[in-house]
C-alpha cells in the first residue's frame, strides 16, 4: 500500500525557501501570489499490516521535526482494476 506523508512547516515558522520561491515567481511576472510555503512529500510503500499508529510514530520519531513541522498522512487507494 502506498502512503503519502506531507511534511510542512508550522504556521508562523519563517520559511526562507518559500520566500525565495515567491520572489522568483514575482520575478517571472506572475501576479497575485500572496504567499509560498515549501514542504516535503515522502512516499512509503508499506504492507497492509502497518497501522495508523505506527505511521504516526514514524512521523514523530523521524520524518517530521515536531519543533518546526507538521505532518499529514494520506493512504493512497489502490487503482481500480477493470473486471476480467
Amino acid at each position: 500500500m502506498k502512503i503519502r506523508i506531507f511534511v510542512t512547516l508550522k504556521p508562523g515558522v519563517l520559511d526562507p525557501q518559500g520566500k525565495a520561491i515567491h520572489h522568483a515567481l514575482e520575478g517571472l511576472g506572475f501576479a497575485g501570489v500572496n504567499d509560498v510555503r515549501a514542504g516535503k512529500l515522502i512516499e512509503l510503500e508499506v504492507s497492509e499490516s502497518v497501522t495508523d499508529a505506527e505511521l504516526d510514530d514514524m512521523c514523530r520519531k523521524l520524518l517530521a521535526n515536531m519543533v518546526i513541522e507538521n505532518y499529514r498522512i494520506e493512504r493512497v487507494a489502490a487503482p481500480e482494476r477493470a473486471p476480467a
Binding site: V13, L14, P16, Q17, L62, L63, N65, V67, I68
Partner: protein, 224 residues
C-alpha cells in the same frame, strides 16, 4: 582528560576537533564511529563535530540523531558527561531532543562562511569558564542551516536560566534573539553553530576558540 570525537559518514570537521583537543589537552581523543554502540569507558568529554552527516538527508542531523552511537551519547549526557556539539553537532543535539529548538535554513538562504563576533552571555558554565561574561570573541562560522528557532516560551526559559552561552553581536542567519549557542539545563551539554576548533592557534588567524577548550579542560581537572 579522556575525550572522544564522534565521526559520521559526512563529518568534515572531525580532524580539526581532534587536533584542537590534542593541542589543548595534550591527550589523544578516542575516535568513535557512528555504528559503535558503546563509548570508551571513563570518558569526560564527547565532541560531535561539524560536517554534513549522512549528507544532511531529510534534515540536517536527523539521520545522525538516530544512529547507534547517539543512544550512547544520550546515556552519557544523562550521567553528566560533557558533550560539545559544533555546527552539525549542534543540529544533531537538537534533533535528538538533548537540546531544545531547531536549526533551520539561514534566513538569507545562502551558505555563510566567515568570521563572526559573538558575545559570551554566560561565563559560569564549564564550556565558557575561559571567558569573561559579556566578552566579545571572534569565531568562524560555516553553515547553511544555522538559523536557531524555538517557541517564545522555550526562548524565554533559555534566557531566564542563563542557558544562552553565545549570541551573535549582529544579524547573521536569522537566529531567534541572535542565539549562537545554548546549554542544557544541567550545563553539561553545549551546542553552538560557530567553530571554536577552527580558532585555536595563530596559524588559524584567530585564537579565541582556544579558551573554550582551555576553560573546559581546566574545569574538568578541577572537578576531578
Amino acid at each position: 582528560m579522556k575525550s572522544a570525537v564522534i565521526v559520521f559518514p559526512g563529518s568534515n570537521c572531525d580532524r580539526e576537533m581532534i587536533e584542537a583537543l590534542r593541542l589543548v589537552s595534550g591527550c589523544d581523543p578516542a575516535i568513535v564511529w557512528h555504528r559503535d554502540a558503546e563509548l570508551p569507558a571513563g570518558i569526560d568529554l564527547i565532541a560531535i563535530p561539524g560536517g554534513f552527516s549522512y549528507g544532511d538527508y531529510l534534515r540536517a542531523g536527523a539521520m545522525a540523531a538516530n544512529s547507534p552511537v547517539i543512544r550512547a551519547v544520550k546515556d552519557a549526557a544523562d550521567r553528566g558527561v560533557m558533550v560539545l556539539g559544533v555546527c552539525n553537532g549542534f543540529q544533531v543535539l537538537t534533533e535528538t531532543g538533548i537540546l531544545p529548538g531547531a536549526l533551520m535554513r539561514n534566513a538569507g538562504i545562502r551558505y555563510i562562511c566567515r568570521d563572526v563576533v559573538l558575545r559570551v552571555e554566560n561565563s559560569q558554565s564549564v564550556f565558557t569558564a575561559g571567558y569573561e561574561a559579556g566578552e566579545e570573541i571572534t569565531i568562524p562560522i560555516a553553515h547553511h542551516d544555522g538559523n536557531y528557532q524555538a517557541d517564545a516560551e522555550t526562548l524565554d526559559r533559555l534566557e531566564g536560566e542563563g542557558r544562552v552561552a553565545f549570541r551573535y553581536t549582529g544579524e547573521v542567519n536569522g537566529s531567534a534573539r541572535g542565539i549562537a549557542g545554548i546549554l542544557n539545563p544541567q550545563g553539561n551539554v553545549l551546542g553552538m553553530m560557530p567553530h571554536p576548533e577552527r580558532a585555536v592557534e595563530p596559524a588559524h588567524g584567530l585564537t579565541d576558540g582556544r579558551r573554550l577548550f582551555e576553560g573546559l579542560i581546566g574545569a574538568l581537572a578541577q572537578a576531578a
